[in-house]
Amino acid sequence: MITLSINGKDHEFNDDGDMPLLWALRDILKYTGTKYGCGKGLCGACTVHVDGQPIRSCVMPVSAIAKQKITTIEGLSENGDHVVQQAWQTLNVPQCGYCQSGQIMSAVALLERNAKPNDQEIEQAMSGNICRCGTYQRIKEAIHHAADLATEVKGS
C-alpha cells in the first residue's frame, strides 16, 4: 500500500506501483482536473506539483512519489482565487481549456521561484506545455499580470 498526499489529504493507493500518477489521480482517486495529452512527457497537460516542483504526472510512477506532497489544480486554492487563476480569468486565457490546468500549474511553479519573470524566462518555463488552441500570447500576458497581482497583494 502506498499513501499519497494530495492537496493536503492522504489517500491509500493499493494498485500497481508502476502506474503513472496521472492515472492514479484520474481513474482511482477521481481528481480529473489533471489531463492526459500525450502520456510521454511531451505536452505538459498532466503537470502537477510534487513538493512544489512541476512534474509530468504521466511519466511519474506512483511508487516514486510516496510520502511527497502532491498538489493538483483542484488544490491550488480554496476558492479558485490564486493570483494565477485570477489573472487567467481576467485575460480570458482559455479557449477549449483542456491544456490550462497544466499551463496554470507550470505558471505557478515558475512564479514561485521567479516572482518577476521576463518573456524569455516565461518561454523557457512554459515550453513543455502545448496549447493546440494557441493561447500562448495570453498565457504570457497572464503570467506578467499574475506577477503584478502578487506584488500588489504582498505590498498591501
Binding site: R26, L42, N92, P94
Partner: protein
C-alpha cells in the same frame, strides 16, 4: 422555417431536469438527416433552420440551452449573449444548459464555422419572443399598453409609473399566452445591444477552466464504469489475423478482451475494428493492449508511401481529370504572354491533434444508451450508434461534454460507436479513450496535396492567364470507396480565386485515398490558399510591384463575383450569394485595414520581412500581414501577425480575437512543423515528438482588428487559418529572397 411555438409540455423538460412550470420557448424545426452526407461539414447542403430554447423559472433564473458544442470557440458564451440580449436578461441570473443530441434543435453539427452564422437570427427571435410574452403578461397585469413596457435585467419595467415585475413572477401568466407570430417580433436595434458586440462578457466556463472543475469527454466517470483502449489496424482496412487474449488478461486489472468487427470500407463513421482491452483503469488497459501481440492481415492500402505518392500527385496535376472553372482561353493567353510564371506547391498530410484525444463513455441499460462524449455532432453520433447497434435513435441519448479542442476530428463519431458496441456487449458502462498515438495514427486526415500553377503576364504587365491544377485525395473517399476526385473541396480556395484575370482554368487530378480523409479546421482552404496567395506574391515580384499594391490591383474593380459566369459550381459555404456575396470591395477593405495596422511600406531592419495574404472563407474576409526576423543562424521567427477581419456583425468580439490568435498559431504550426508521412500504409509519426506543433517560444504577438459591419454574421472559427501560411512564406521571401513552396519549413533547417 416554421412558426415559433410554445413547447412547455414537451418531454425534453424531464431530460433537462427543468420543472414544467418553466416558460419554454422553442423554434420548431423540420427534421434533418441524422447522419450527414459527405462534406456536410464543409458546404452546408443542409438547409435546416436553427433553433434555441429559453426557459425562465419562477426562481427568476433564465436557462438558455446551448445546442452547439463548445470546443474553445466560446459558443457557450456567445449563444447566451445573443439570447440574453434580446430577452433583456440579467447575465448574473442565467443558467447555461448543454442540449442533448436531438433533431428538434436543428443542426448541431458544430463545424464549418456555422454556429453564429446560422443561428444568430433564430436565437434573437427566440429571445425576443420570450421577452414579448413577458411584456404582455406584465402589461395585462398593469392594464397598460404593452408598448409602454421594456425588459431590463430580468425585469419587465413600466417606466411611466416606475413599476417593475421580475421575469420569474410573470412565468405563469406568460406561459398561458400565445407565442407571437414571427412576423410580429420586434428585435432590438443595434445601438441598444447590451451583450452583442461587447467585449467585456466573461466566459461562461471561465472559473471552471481554471479550477479543473470542467468535464471533458476524457473525464466522464460513471458508477461501475470500466476503461477501454483499442488496438486498431495500423493500415486502413487491415483485418485482425491473431492476438493473444490470454496474455492481455494476465495483466492485473484487465477484465475483458473483445474483438471488434472488421471495417468494411467505406469507412464513413464506423469504428476501424481491432481489439479492445477493458480494464479497471486506463493504465491496466494500456498495458493489456501492449500484451496483445496482434498480427494483422495485409491491406491494399499498404501500397501507400508518401515519397512515391507525392510523385504520383505531381503527375496527376499534369494530367487533370476535370476542369472546375474556366473562362477564356488560358492556352492562347499563355502563348501570347510576355512572361510565363510557373510554380508547384506541396502541403503534406496533416492531423488535428486536439489536446484532448477522442473519448466517449457509454452505458447501455434497459434498451437505452446513455452516452457522454466530446462530440462536435451529437446527432450523427446518435444516428450512427443507432444504425450500427440496432437501437432506435430515440433511445440513444448523447450528452455533449466540453471538448478539449475539436478542429473537425470530433465531428466523426467513430469513437462513440466503439464505446456503444462495448457497453452493449459487456453490459457495463464503458469509457473508450484514444491515446495520442491512436489519434495520430488512426485519424481522419487532412489530405496531402500537390498543386501546379501557371500564369501569363502580358506586355502591359497584366496577368492575363491563370491555371491552377490540384491533386489531393478527396473527403468523398471516406464515404464512397474508391472516390479519387475532390468535389466541394474545390470551393475552398480553388475555384473561388477572386483575382480579376481574363483567362482562367482550375482543374483537378485523380488522387486515390489510402487513409480516412476528413476535414480539419478550414479544410482545403489551407492548401489552396497557401498556393494561390504565395503565387500571387510571386506574380508581384515578376511584375516588379509591391505585394500589397499587386493584391489590390489584381482584385480589379469593386464587384460581387458570381463564379457561375465562369462555368464554376460554387457552393459559397451553403449560403446564397445575395445574403453573402463574394465582394471584392470588402476584400480590399481588409487589405487596407491590415496594411494600416502593420504600417505596410515602412523601412524594416536588416533580416526582417513583411508578407501579406488575404482570403475569404466561411463567408468572412481575413487579411493577414506577418513580420518575420532571421537570426545569424538563418533561423526564422514569426514576430508579429496582424489580422483584419470582416465577419459581418461581430457578436462576441472578444472570442473573435481569441479565435484569430489561435488561428495564427494553428497556421504557424502547419507552416513550420507539422507533417505526417506514410510508410507501407502506416503513419510514421505517433506523438508530439514526431508530429510537432508550435510551442510558446514560437508564438508571435497577434494583433486583431474587426471591421465594423452590419452585414449578417459570418464564420470565425476557421477563416483566420488560410492566410497564415502564405503570409509567413511571403514574409520570408521579403526578408531573405528565398521562396519556399513546400511545407513544413522545418525540412529546410530554417525554423
Amino acid at each position: 422555417m416554421k412558426q415559433i411555438e410554445n413547447v412547455s409540455r414537451r418531454g425534453f423538460l424531464k431530460k433537462l431536469g427543468i420543472s414544467s412550470t418553466a416558460l419554454v420557448i422553442g423554434v420548431q424545426l423540420p427534421s434533418m438527416l441524422t447522419i450527414p452526407k459527405a462534406l456536410a461539414g464543409v458546404v452546408g447542403s443542409d438547409k435546416f433552420a436553427p433553433n434555441v430554447y429559453v426557459q425562465i423559472g419562477i426562481d427568476n433564473i433564465v436557462s438558455i440551452v446551448v445546442h452547439r458544442s463548445e470546443m474553445g470557440q466560446g459558443i457557450r458564451t456567445s449563444i447566451p449573449m445573443i439570447v440574453a440580449d434580446e430577452l433583456g436578461a440579467d447575465w448574473q441570473q442565467i443558467a447555461v444548459v448543454q442540449g442533448l443530441g436531438d433533431k428538434k434543435y436543428g443542426s448541431q453539427n458544430t463545424d464549418g464555422s456555422r454556429s453564429v452564422r446560422r443561428f444568430y437570427q433564430p436565437l434573437r427571435e427566440a429571445g425576443a419572443s420570450a421577452r414579448m410574452m413577458l411584456q404582455q403578461a406584465a402589461a395585462d397585469q398593469w392594464q397598460v399598453d404593452v408598448s409602454e413596457t421594456t425588459a431590463l435585467n430580468n425585469n419587465i419595467v413600466h417606466e411611466k409609473s416606475g413599476r417593475s415585475l421580475s421575469f420569474g413572477s410573470l412565468v405563469n401568466a406568460a406561459s398561458k399566452l400565445k407565442v407571437p407570430e414571427r412576423s410580429s417580433l420586434i428585435l432590438k436595434a443595434k445601438k441598444d445591444f447590451n451583450f452583442i458586440g461587447k467585449s467585456d462578457v466573461a466566459l461562461v466556463d471561465g472559473e471552471k477552466f481554471v479550477t479543473g472543475a470542467t468535464t471533458y469527454g476524457f473525464d466522464v466517470e460513471l458508477p461501475g464504469m470500466q476503461y477501454a483502449v483499442i488496438a486498431r489496424p495500423p493500415v486502413l482496412g487491415a483485418k485482425v489475423k491473431s492476438f493473444n487474449s490470454e496474455a492481455a488478461k494476465a495483466i492485473a486489472g484487465v477484465i475483458a478482451v473483445v474483438q471488434l468487427p472488421d471495417l468494411e470500407e467505406p469507412a464513413v463513421f464506423k469504428p476501424l475494428g481491432g481489439v479492445a482491452v477493458i480494464a479497471k483503469n486506463t493504465w491496466a488497459a494500456m498495458k493489456g493492449r501492449e500484451a496483445l501481440a496482434i498480427q494483422w492481415h495485409e491491406s491494399e492500402h499498404q501500397s501507400y508511401n508518401s515519397d512515391s505518392y507525392k510523385k504520383a500527385l505531381a503527375a496527376s496535376c499534369d494530367n487533370p481529370e476535370k476542369v472546375l472553372r474556366s473562362k477564356g482561353s488560358v492556352t492562347k493567353a499563355l502563348a501570347e504572354a510576355k512572361q510565363v510564371i510557373t510554380a508547384s506547391y506541396y502541403v503534406p498530410e496533416l492531423i488535428h491533434v486536439p489536446m484532448e484525444p477522442p473519448a466517449a463513455a457509454a452505458h447501455y441499460h434497459d434498451g437505452i444508451f446513455d452516452i457522454w462524449a466530446c462530440t462536435q455532432t451529437p446527432q450523427s453520433a446518435q444516428g450512427t450508434v443507432a444504425q450500427i447497434t440496432g437501437v432506435a435513435a430515440e433511445n440513444v441519448n448523447i450528452n455533449v461534454t466540453l471538448l478539449g479542442g475539436g478542429f473537425g476530428r470530433k465531428s466523426k463519431p467513430d469513437f462513440i460507436v466503439e464505446a456503444a458496441i462495448l457497453s452493449k456487449q459487456l453490459n457495463v458502462p464503458i469509457k473508450v479513450m484514444w491515446s495520442r498515438e491512436d489519434e495520430i495514427q488512426n485519424g481522419y486526415y487532412h489530405a496531402v496535396s500537390y498543386q501546379k500553377l501557371v500564369a501569363g503576364i502580358d506586355d502591359n504587365n497584366q496577368v492575363t492567364a491563370w491555371q491552377h491544377h490540384v491533386a489531393e485525395p478527396p473527403i468523398g473517399s471516406t464515404f464512397s470507396k474508391g472516390a479519387d476526385l475532390i468535389g466541394s473541396e474545390a470551393d475552398l480556395g480553388l475555384i473561388d480565386m477572386p483575382y480579376d484575370i481574363a483567362n482562367v482554368s482550375c482543374a483537378v487530378g485523380k488522387a486515390p485515398a489510402h487513409t480516412r480523409i476528413g476535414w480539419m479546421r478550414s479544410v482545403t482552404n489551407i492548401n489552396h490558399v497557401f498556393a494561390v496567395s504565395s503565387f500571387v506574391d510571386e506574380l508581384a515580384q515578376a511584375k516588379g510591384l509591391d505585394s500589397k499594391d499587386n493584391l489590390i490591383a489584381m482584385l480589379g474593380t469593386d464587384r460581387k463575383i458570381d463564379f457561375s459566369n465562369e462555368n464554376a459550381n460554387y457552393g459559397n459555404y451553403g449560403e446564397t450569394l445575395s445574403k453573402f456575396p463574394v465582394d471584392t470591395a470588402r476584400m480590399k477593405a481588409v487589405i487596407e485595414k491590415v496594411s494600416a495596422m502593420a504600417k505596410w511600406g515602412r523601412t524594416l531592419p536588416k533580416g526582417r520581412g513583411l508578407g501579406i495574404a488575404m482570403h475569404r472563407s466561411f463567408v468572412s474576409y481575413v487579411a493577414c500581414i506577418v513580420e518575420v526576423s532571421t537570426n545569424s543562424d538563418g533561423k526564422i521567427k514569426v514576430e508579429d501577425v496582424w489580422l483584419a477581419v470582416d465577419c459581418g456583425l461581430a457578436v462576441n468580439p472578444e472570442r473573435i480575437r481569441s479565435q484569430m490568435e489561435g488561428a495564427a498559431i494553428f497556421g504557424l504550426s502547419l507552416t513550420f512543423f507539422s507533417e505526417l508521412t506514410a510508410k507501407n500504409g502506416v503513419i510514421e509519426q505517433s506523438n508530439f515528438d514526431g508530429y510537432q506543433v508550435a510551442r510558446i517560444a514560437d508564438a508571435p504577438t497577434t494583433h486583431v482588428e474587426i471591421i465594423d459591419s452590419d452585414a449578417p454574421p459570418g464564420g470565425i472559427g476557421e477563416p483566420g487559418v488560410p492566410p497564415i501560411a502564405p503570409a509567413i512564406c511571403n514574409a520570408i521571401f521579403n526578408a531573405t529572397g528565398k521562396r519556399y513552396r513546400e511545407l513544413p519549413l522545418k525540412q529546410y533547417g530554417i525554423v
